[in-house]
């Protein structure tokens, strides 16, 4: 089992075998997480700091539980309320924390590239928990694990990613990961929410949702930010739901056993019909949350092994 990375900054840096290694380990953690005793000592003695410069409940909780189940000392820092407000730069904040010798730093930041910048300045392993519109690697990995468990494989599937691709780090990481694993990727959404020259990423682009969903195995919905609905990118919430909201009628164009995914939190009635989201025969949204913990345990475990191996021994 090899995973030769110091940080997990994005899917871009990972190879096919890195991804498989990670998912295989995550599978074992997924099983363990269903046992009454979920505890492991993989991160015993290590310090994990969660630095969230952007609001997050789900991802932060997931990383916290993952760290605690592995025996790490976990600390959450709500960076919005802290020194950044006092004018301290990102790098100074990083240097300050670095001096406290954390072993794992989990970082979310509203600016693309900010986590890369921070990783250059610290000695510990850094996990990107989402940077701007750039990447959200653990989300893509948990989506991949969910798909692999539901479909029995993670290659040669037809997968539609629908909605606000332009502003989505989840979409970017998923496009990279699913592409690396040799799947057919379709992007569905209004052209105002598509990044420029996205067709060069080896994907097919559709602005008609029914055509885009034709025969696909996986339907991955994205969250539409409220601030995009005011006429700047799309005319209105109701027109968006009419054309791009996932309901039973549109889903009928997908393969009969297609699964429905959503990274959460959902806007019911905007990008997805509420009943559909709760349909246990189609929706794997709860599995995604479950796999999130497993994938984050696997990622932190692998990075911690490399980190500890690189430390001078004190014995």
């Amino acid at each position: 089992m090899s995973f030769a990375h110091r940080h997990l900054l994005g899917i871009e840096q990972l190879s096919q075998s890195d991804i498989t290694t990670l998912l295989d380990l995550a599978d074992t953690y997924a099983e363990r997480n269903r046992q009454p005793n979920k505890h492991s000592d993989a991160l015993r003695g290590l310090t994990q700091i969660n630095m969230f410069f952007e609001n997050s409940t789900r991802t932060q909780a997931s990383f916290e539980i993952a760290g605690k189940r592995l025996g790490a000392d976990v600390m959450n820092m709500a960076m919005q309320a802290s020194s950044i407000k006092k004018g301290e730069t990102l790098i100074d904040t990083a240097m300050t924390l670095n001096a406290m010798h954390p072993d794992l730093l989990v970082v979310r930041h509203p600016q693309s590239g900010a986590v890369d910048l921070l990783a250059q300045k610290v000695n510990c392993a850094v996990l990107n928990a989402g940077d701007g519109r750039h990447e959200h690697p653990t989300q893509a990995l948990l989506d991949a694990l969910t798909i692999r468990r539901a479909k029995g494989r993670l290659h040669r599937l037809s997968i539609a990613i629908c909605g606000d691709i332009a502003h989505s780090r989840v979409a970017r990481s998923n496009i990279l990961l699913l592409g690396k694993m040799e799947n057919r990727i379709r992007l569905v959404g209004p052209p105002t929410l598509m990044p420029s020259q996205i067709d060069q990423f080896g994907v097919e682009v559709f602005d008609d949702m029914k055509k885009g969903l034709e025969g696909v195995d996986v339907v991955m919905m994205l969250r539409l930010q409220k601030e995009r609905m005011d006429g700047g990118f799309i005319p209105s919430e109701r027109e968006y739901y009419h054309r791009y909201g996932l309901d039973a009628e549109k889903l009928a164009h997908a393969s009969p056993d297609a699964i429905v995914m959503h990274p959460g939190p959902m806007n019911r009635g905007v990008e997805i019909d509420g009943t559909l989201a709760d349909d246990i025969n189609r929706s794997v949204i709860q599995d995604q949350v479950e796999m999130g913990v497993a994938v984050r345990m696997a990622a932190m475990d692998l990075l911690a092994r490399n980190h500890v191996a690189a430390q001078p021994s004190v014995a």
């Binding site: 730069t89 590239g113 910048l117 519109r133 750039h134 990447e135 780090r169 420029s196 996205i198 990423f201």
Partner: protein, 427 residues
């Protein structure tokens, strides 16, 4: 005092020649030009042996930002002047985008006084076109010209109100003033950090379509046609803008265009992993654009190459890419970077020198840029082939935000002369 510069290759951009020669300088002015070393010169002349290197008119760099007043810790007239001398730039044409902006005769006089005290090279100031560069009211163009303003520009801010801009152009025309603008559609380019395309999408950075430049230029050309003003586009960086420029010139409008050295030598991919020293304004373009623009300089469609020297301190660059300040220093790297175009055989040395020296001097009505009797002895002696690896720690600018750090370059300034006096000599 007379000086005889001999044992050199003389680069004459006006004649388009590069050949052995010699020149005699009397009291800071070129007094005679020879094809070969003259025999039996007057014994009182000091002989300057140029060691077989290339002697050319000094570079005239339009658009240098010196951060006085306001941010002297980033660049002062002293530090910029030393950097210019080391880079073979004998005339810095300075930008008014300081804090406060240079938009009144009083601030202009302050700048001129500081420049004359501190800088070893010529400093020719520009002034803002509108007060506070706010795009609402024109500055005192007449008074500012009397105080020495060589041109009027709001720098990277576009005067969005076309009524304001057309009046300023009309008024400037009546005084024969040159207006320099930044052709860019302000709506499309708002908030952009990079040029749109595959790379921008991969990095998740806010991007501007290269079309925004053409839209800005189209608008400006219509206004020049309407007002008859003298106009210079500060930076043309995209292939799409070139046909419009070509047409405007063919139609006899008084228009010229420039380009910054970074857009001629780097492309959008150089940003790589969010390297903020490569963040410039407008953002770096695709390789196709870079090649088209370099060709346009070779053909003379783009008239002027400048350094777009923009000092930024470490604090304003060591930030996430979107938040980081734009701009790169260029005074000391302009010559070796521009030599890449010669070494890549995009253009010959006399053609390059027209864009670096003769054309900017002509456009601003300055006497430099020529090897001719009566021209000032503003000269640069350089070795066009000498290789080196740039170490940014050696730069003389107070700010060292160069994208060329650690890169191999060719072209080394051996000495720089302003009005015949040596202001820099390589050791």
């Amino acid at each position: 005092m007379t000086q005889l510069f001999t044992n050199l290759r003389l680069l004459d951009p006006e004649a388009g020649t590069l050949a052995p020669g010699a020149i005699l300088v009397r009291d800071g002015v070129i007094a005679e030009v020879f094809d070969s070393a003259p025999e039996g010169q007057a014994s009182d002349s000091q002989v300057v042996d140029c060691g077989g290197h290339t002697l050319a008119p000094g570079i005239v760099d339009i658009g240098v930002k010196v951060c006085e007043p306001g941010e002297r810790h980033k660049e002062s007239y002293r530090s910029a002047g030393l950097a210019a001398a080391a880079g073979g730039v004998t005339t810095m044409v300075t930008r008014p985008d300081t804090d406060p902006a240079i938009d009144s005769p009083e601030t202009l006089e302050f700048v001129t006084r500081r420049a004359n005290e501190a800088a070893p090279v010529n400093v020719v100031p520009m002034a803002a076109l509108t007060k506070g560069r706010a795009g609402r009211e024109m500055t005192e163009i007449g008074f500012l010209m009397d105080a020495g303003a060589a041109a009027f520009t709001d720098c990277d801010r576009v005067v969005t109100d076309t009524k304001v801009f057309s009046r300023a152009l009309t008024y400037a025309r009546s005084l024969g003033a040159l207006v320099i603008a930044h052709p860019q559609d302000p709506g499309l380019s708002k908030g952009a950090a990079v040029t749109s395309g595959k790379f921008a999408s991969l990095r998740g950075l806010p991007a501007v379509s290269p079309m925004a430049e053409r839209m800005g230029l189209d608008r400006d050309i219509a206004l020049i046609e309407m007002t008859g003003a003298r106009y210079h586009a500060d930076q043309i960086t995209t292939a799409r803008a070139l046909p419009a420029l070509e047409r405007a010139k063919r139609n006899g409008l008084d228009i010229t265009a420039g380009v910054g050295i970074h857009h001629l030598t780097l492309n959008a991919l150089d940003v790589a992993d969010y390297r903020t020293f490569f963040k410039v304004k407008p953002p770096l373009r695709d390789e196709d654009d870079r090649l088209a623009v370099a060709e346009a300089v070779a053909s003379g469609l783009i008239d002027i190459i400048c350094s777009m020297h923009t000092p930024q301190d470490e604090e304003s660059k060591r930030l996430p890419f979107e938040e980081a300040a734009s701009g790169a220093v260029g005074l000391e790297t302009l010559l070796p970077a521009a030599m890449r175009l010669v070494h890549a055989e995009v253009m010959d040395l006399p053609t390059l020198w027209r864009a670096l020296s003769l054309n900017p001097a002509k456009r601003l009505g300055l006497s430099g840029g020529r090897i001719a009797v009566g021209a000032p002895a503003d000269l640069v002696l350089f070795n066009p082939d000498a290789p080196f690896v740039l170490d940014r720690a050696t730069l003389r600018s107070k700010s060292r935000n160069t994208p060329f750090d650690g890169m191999r370059m060719q072209g080394k300034v051996m000495a720089t002369y302003v009005a015949g006096s040596c202001v820099y000599e390589a050791n």
